[in-house]
Symmetry: C2
Subunit: 228 residues, 2 copies
């Protein structure tokens, strides 16, 4: 039995959860609090970053979304993780890197800090509400992210190319977190919306979208609805 | 013939250059200015991030260090890119991710911004010198990075395990940039120093360390010396 150490609103954790569910890999979820340091978590992944995939015997510990996705690709060669063609694989990895790198660094990461993690920290320290200037910068970066998603989905069947791949699940991890936080204006990005409606219809995604996150504000009413 | 779009002090570019040289892949370098947006670069990699590997016909464009390293692994299965064993590969990827992620985000990235990129930008805008508080935070993160490198190299022959791999070249990319910027106190980290001395002795690394970067302050005297 596999255990996945995750946080419900961690976009990288969501991407890997969706991928594991698509591969029908039975996984027990272990909740982590990414805004707190934990000795147990650092023992599994010294960077403290989520997700972390562990088998029951602890003889297998795969730390971080990059290593997990490539591990699932190595161990499921005919699954829907990555393409078989070398150049198609490279393009899917570019998209994965786009979300793990640029989107996480300029949008999803700072937004989670400002709207969720700081809220949990403030229960001890009494922190201030999100800074208006910080939120403005993040939202400007978000508009660029959404325009690029719309541009990609205008041109392609799936984000990495013709086939559904890990790139779609990684992107859906980020998009679903941004949507939970009510930060997406879907009316302006119709191609991205059509792609996300197809993602929302998948059983793995439906289960994930049915969850609510304790301590975070409720998502918008259409959040879990594939017909939005 | 391959072209690598890079910047001489970009740690990810350096890691990939070292790997290409170890694989004896003849590559022409194309200089980029990462502190400036460029339409030509965005056409090759929409995120604008370096490095980018392009063949002469432009039928192959591999964008970003993650996709390039995995592409080199896919296309050189018996080379020294990644291990063959699945769990060893996962550990090497964890180390690569450590440098691409945590080290870049908390140390190398902000240090390059403060000490190099802002300097180029300021030639147009008249920016202020590096902020003392920012540098203090970065240097505290750097001490943690160096302690972890020392810890790993105490326990292992190479960073990813028993064998030299892409993890060592990726780490050497970051370490060599930090050393160029004269930010490393080698006396306190003897295991890391021994590992880096072995890396410095490799022909690919010697060629890289012989370069100087126009517009950046000169590196310390011992920078290129394997016996430091």
């Amino acid at each position: 039995m596999l255990h996945l150490h995750h946080y419900r609103l961690c976009p990288q954790s969501r991407g890997v959860r969706l991928l594991l569910a698509e591969l029908k890999a039975e996984t027990t979820l272990v909740d982590e609090r990414p805004w707190e340091w934990s000795a147990e978590r650092a023992a599994l992944n010294p960077s403290g970053e989520l997700p972390i995939l562990v088998d029951q015997s602890k003889s297998v510990v795969i730390a971080g979304s990059y290593a997990i996705i490539e591990f699932l690709s190595d161990t499921n060669p005919v699954g829907s993780v990555l393409a078989r063609d070398t150049l198609d694989r490279a393009e899917m990895r570019r998209i994965i890197d786009w979300y793990h790198g640029l989107c996480q660094r300029t949008v999803t990461g700072p937004l989670l800090e400002a709207k969720v993690y700081d809220r949990f920290r403030s229960q001890e320290k009494g922190a201030a509400p999100p800074d208006a200037g910080t939120l403005r910068t993040i939202r400007s970066n978000l508009r660029y992210q959404l325009r690029y998603l719309d541009h990609l989905t205008e041109q392609r069947n799936w984000l990495g190319g013709d086939a559904l791949s890990a790139a779609d699940f990684v992107a859906a991890g980020h998009v679903s977190v941004l949507d939970y936080l009510d930060e997406i204006s879907w009316a302006e990005i119709s191609s991205a919306k059509t792609w996300y409606a197809r993602m929302k219809s998948r059983p793995a995604m439906r289960a994930l979208l049915a969850e609510r996150v304790p301590g975070a504000a409720a998502p918008p009413a259409y959040y879990a609805d594939p017909d939005f």
